[in-house]
Symmetry: C2
Subunit: 433 residues, 2 copies
């Protein structure tokens, strides 16, 4: 007779991205898999100085338990950071979290019962899918278009749920340089989404790790800010604009959610580390973030350009990809008939890894898609790696053509714009606005 | 029409301890409420040096995402620490956590479905009760005796569950210097508990934050080690023996639990902060922990003695308290008829706060009990604070006697040994073994 585990444990799965992380520590492999920032951006000297400053001046507080919503110094610094980037901000509507993954966990706890319908993009962030499915959500996917979530598709899903007599607990979107697709939601769509959600009293969960890392130097207004902070829960993190190794993020939300989020935060870890909160608060208060983000943009823009150029010269006809103008990822749709799963072994054998697209799809679609990260590898690695990927794709095509000569091999389409005619794509290029 | 929150959110409650934490930052209040270490123990100079050492030598890894089970350096250091303290240890059965509260959260996710029976001590740690009740556990309380959980009482509860056709998902115990009671489980009871749990295939969750902080300089064998790591999940933290402000703890568990715990950990925060893991790993590897713990013992033993002496001279007859030989807390049972809740306002008005005992009781008992912390206040504050507490108790007694002259006021008994005749107690004094 074995001890009994919970239904939650039964639904828990491994994230392949986390599994792939081990590749990033190997020097003989080019990894397009993780969502890792470029470590050369980490401000080591500043952190040495700030660690000492925090320990010497506030060590007794920094090493003690802190308040559950976060250190007041940190909350004040976050309010200022949000205002610097034109965000609606209010210290009473902020809770510091240990990463935005914890934000996703808390949102799952706040809203999801077993079988609760929620709406996610197709494709969507794998860590969110993992947290939501662990909580037993009934995820309904809505396709992405070049300018964000397909609002007509959203309407169809909402009507379908209406007919079932159910209302989704929330709509989860990543409007800026979406992970994994690189697609950005237009401002018009953000406004329409708010109107749709308000009319039906559905909260919007806006996951916004990449907003500030906008290669144009501008930012789009967040859904949170467009909605005046009403009806929206905003998840933020320093992992992409600064570094992930201190696990610091925050949630912005109004009532009645914030009170409950803080109670849930108490139950999951009591409070976030004060030591690292003070360090990042000082970093923000000394006015260093805008420069830091500018350096990240200067680092990632040429990498993105290098990847786009390499894809253009290396990938066989029929391959399509997105053209993000911020963030860390772009999205590839392989030529019809080729699966990203079967090709993975071929590419990995040659020292290149990526993330297979299917796991970003809550409905199991996306077999012919994959995600590429350009923030972690060097430009040289990008050029070499994409060449290898192109050769692997060509080989797969050839193998597929041989197989197709005897049997028919249907392809499951998926991902943004999958229904449009195959051609080198411009998904997520600067939207007209 | 309001958006819908989950059943989990409906069950989430505020911990009064977290609310009381704000008192600890006020200089005009003597707080016996929190479970805070003495900040004068924090090794500031060492941490300045180690922060720089980590950033200069391993900054790129320390600020990057790390593996979900923890940094290999940290896991190796934890194995060594456990062996130094005579614990069964194996790096493949360790997962680093952001505090032992996260351990409790992960255990809740691993085992508890809505309505799942679990067994907890009466009283038990409030943060555990909060996590378990959030997950919808059906908590069955078993009284504490001077030498730990009442095994006959446990047998009765298990038989009761048998008759209902149910098996508890786990038995949750804090064997060393229990929070809140200060009681320590005897080695004999640890062995018997293992046998009982094994016979019925019930996992034991052993929460062990205080084990190393043993005023005798020795340690008792943990349940984890007595069981050879089989059938036990051990929760550990650095919050009590080092400092809480980096939020670092770990779980030790065998299969099939560890795989699932790591998947769940991924879904709640991807990984623990690498930066602080490297700092504490270096602290451990440089062999500083035993000295650090010795200093904590030297700091807390006289505080505990001062509190016991002050209680002896200040508290009215009929008050009883435990006599811990480690940890941070002792437990007070007020004279019959007095409630810790009504007395709280009287004491707080005079500048002394404590935690009311009822919230440590999953069955709502414990009205006449309270928890006192002696690690955070100074000896002088302890002496002055307990004098105030004694006066407040005497006043309550007087008010109660006046009221009793007209009406009968029954008292709900609770806490360890509550059924024994009231007299100055020796709960948790060095057990005979």
């Amino acid at each position: 007779m074995d001890p009994i585990m919970s239904a939650v444990a039964g639904r828990a799965t491994k994230s392949e991205i986390r599994e792939l992380l081990k590749w990033t520590r190997r020097s003989d492999v080019i990894s397009f898999a993780g969502g890792l920032p470029d470590a050369s951006l980490f401000p080591i000297d500043e952190l040495v100085r700030l660690s000492e400053q925090v320990l010497r001046t506030r060590g007794y507080h920094a090493l003690q338990y802190g308040p559950t919503p976060g250190e007041p110094d940190m909350i004040e610094a976050l309010v200022q950071h949000m205002r610097d980037y034109d965000e609606e901000a209010d210290g009473n509507r902020i809770c510091v979290t240990a990463s935005s993954q914890q934000g996703l966990d808390l949102v799952s706890l706040l809203f999801i019962d077993e079988g609760s319908p929620i709406i996610v993009e197709l494709p969507s962030y794998i860590g969110a899918i993992q947290a939501f499915s662990r909580s037993g959500a009934d995820m309904r996917g809505v396709a992405l278009e070049e300018d964000g979530i397909d609002l007509e598709g959203l309407g169809r899903v909402l009507n379908e749920l209406d007919r079932e007599g159910r209302r989704p607990r929330f709509i989860y979107v990543i409007p800026d340089f979406q992970n994994p697709s690189g697609v950005t939601m237009s401002v018009e769509k953000r406004r329409e989404l708010i109107a749709i959600a308000r009319a039906r009293s559905i909260p919007i969960v806006e996951d916004s790790p990449y907003r500030e890392v906008n290669f144009t130097g501008a930012t789009l207004p967040s859904i949170w800010t467009l909605a005046g902070g009403e009806g929206v829960i905003l998840l933020k993190t320093f992992s992409k604009m600064l570094f992930p190794g201190m696990r610091l993020g925050w949630i912005a939300a109004g009532q009645p959610w914030m009170d409950k989020l803080i109670m849930l935060k108490q139950s999951v870890d009591l409070c976030t580390a004060s030591f690292t909160q003070f360090i990042v608060a000082d970093y923000l208060r000394e006015g260093r973030m805008r420069d830091t983000i500018a350096r990240a943009i200067d680092c990632y823009r040429p990498k993105k350009d290098a990847m786009l150029a390499a894809l253009g010269s290396a990938m066989p006809a029929g391959t399509r990809w997105s053209r993000p103008y911020g963030g860390m990822f772009l999205w590839v749709e392989l030529p019809a008939g080729i699966g990203a799963e079967s090709m993975f072994e071929r590419a990995a054998g040659r020292g290149v890894v990526y993330v297979k697209g299917r796991q970003f799809h809550c409905d199991g679609s996306g077999a012919g898609t994959l995600r590429l990260n350009y923030s972690f590898p060097s430009v040289e690695q990008i050029e070499r790696g994409i060449e290898i990927l192109g050769a692997a794709t060509a080989e797969e095509l050839e193998a597929h053509a041989k197989a197709a000569a005897t049997t028919a091999a249907p392809r499951t389409a998926g991902g943004p714009g999958a229904s449009r005619p195959a051609a080198t794509a411009s998904l997520g290029e600067y939207p007209a606005r």
